[in-house]
């Protein structure tokens, strides 16, 4: 059972919800931090890291002895990553998306695969939580391969909670696709609502059941609620706009460990998700 936690807008509380939910569950949980451009769930869960590994992609390396400077590789490259000169070929590794086009069109077999590091994966444990995160290397821009690598460790025997990146582009799709449920976290502000609408469109396109958590409830207005009602998206939890919660977060602590009643509230959130899934299966 995979629950992906997404938002559209950044900073609405994805990680807060994901980490508190994971800690509250009284069974084995897998936590995948797929916000690989700025992973931060480890700051809250504080897992003991037991293993680290590299994520690599392939970039072309041209054998100038074999190259006939025909320019097929340069012509097929949609990212402008190759420049075929009179007697030289330049490869701009940072522009390369590792699509393999240049390897495929080279009739001289002059292009070899060279490894390039995109980022790292870390595995760790904390009580009942088995933890994995991805981290994009500075200067690199290819996010989805790292997210896919993180997700390749999905343990289908347990509950998997994915902390997705913000937005609605490729990285978010990579973090939501194939999930059983998407939990959208929003805030009741015009920005929150605007980006929530985009996120809802994305989730609908992927055909994944979804529900809403309103964080900082009490702030802004009721437009998010009326939108949710109109779209028939269940509001599964509201977390109040409370200075105490902000303080707990800023100290890297968990709400469920610091404020009474919240562990139960997050357990309730999980039960509601399971209920929605069951109702869906029975239909």
């Amino acid at each position: 059972m995979i629950i992906s936690i997404a938002s559209g807008k950044g900073g609405t509380g994805k990680t807060t919800v994901a980490t508190n939910l994971a800690i509250s569950l009284e069974k084995d949980v897998q936590f995948l931090d797929c916000d690989v451009e700025e992973p931060n769930a480890h700051l809250f869960l504080d897992p003991t890291i037991v293993k680290k590994e590299q994520v690599v992609a392939f970039v072309p390396q041209v054998d100038l002895e074999k190259c006939t400077f025909c320019r097929k590789c340069m012509d097929i490259c949609r990212f402008g990553a190759m420049a075929v000169l009179k007697k030289d070929v330049m490869v701009f590794e940072n522009l390369c998306h590792s699509c393999g086009g240049c390897f495929a069109v080279c009739s001289e077999n002059a292009i070899m695969e060279k490894e390039r590091s995109l980022g790292t994966i870390e595995h760790g444990v904390m009580d009942h939580i088995s933890f994995t995160n991805g981290r994009l290397e500075i200067g690199q821009v290819m996010v989805p391969p790292i997210i896919k690598k993180v997700r390749s460790f999905t343990n289908f025997e347990t509950i998997t909670i994915i902390d997705a990146p913000p937005g609605t582009s490729c990285p978010v799709i990579a973090a939501m696709k194939g999930a059983d449920f998407v939990l959208l976290v929003t805030e009741p502000t015009p920005f929150g609502l605007h980006d929530l609408k985009l996120a809802v469109e994305t989730v609908k396109l992927l055909g994944i059941p979804h529900g809403l958590v309103i964080n900082r409830a009490g702030l802004g207005n009721d437009d998010v609620k009326s939108y949710a009602k109109k779209q028939e998206i269940p509001i599964l939890m509201e977390i109040p706009f409370d200075k105490k919660i902000a303080k707990i977060y800023s100290n890297g602590q968990m709400i469920v460990d610091s404020l009474p009643g919240y562990r139960e509230k997050f357990q309730e959130l999980f039960d509601k998700i399971m209920q929605l899934m069951e109702n869906r299966e029975n239909r």
């Binding site: 320019r71 340069m74 402008g80 420049a83 000169l85 009179k86 030289d88 330049m90 701009f92």
Partner: protein, 119 residues
């Protein structure tokens, strides 16, 4: 000698296009006879990334020895340097005037890019 000049239009009366990778046209000109070929750069102009690199490869392919333009980014400069093409940055005015200026030796060759890359 063949040189490359970025231009707003496909003629020698045109103004110099300040951009290199995303110039409207790149003219490959023979400095003695003033015979030239105009290359429509519009595909590069709308490229997502790597426009300067592609333009540099095109200049190299057409055997120009010098590029005269307004701004040249780091990737384009690296490519041109590797192809043995000298770069003259910060140019403006008409293409014809610029060729004259070049023929009189009134230009300074750049030793680095004069524009940051686009991200």
């Amino acid at each position: 000698m063949k040189i490359a000049v970025t231009a707003m239009e496909s003629s020698l009366d045109s103004l110099v296009d300040p951009r290199f990778g995303r110039a409207a046209y790149i003219l490959i000109i023979d400095t003695q006879t003033l015979e030239f070929k105009a290359f429509d750069n519009h595909e590069n102009k709308n490229a997502f990334k790597g426009a300067g690199i592609q333009a540099a490869a095109m200049v190299s392919h057409n055997e120009a020895k010098v590029l005269l333009t307004g701004f040249c980014g780091p990737n384009a400069f690296k490519t041109l340097e590797k192809a043995g093409i000298k770069v003259v940055n910060d140019q403006s005015g008409s293409v014809l005037d610029l060729i004259q200026k070049f023929n009189q030796g009134n230009v300074v060759f750049a030793d680095q890019a004069n524009k940051d890359g686009h991200w």
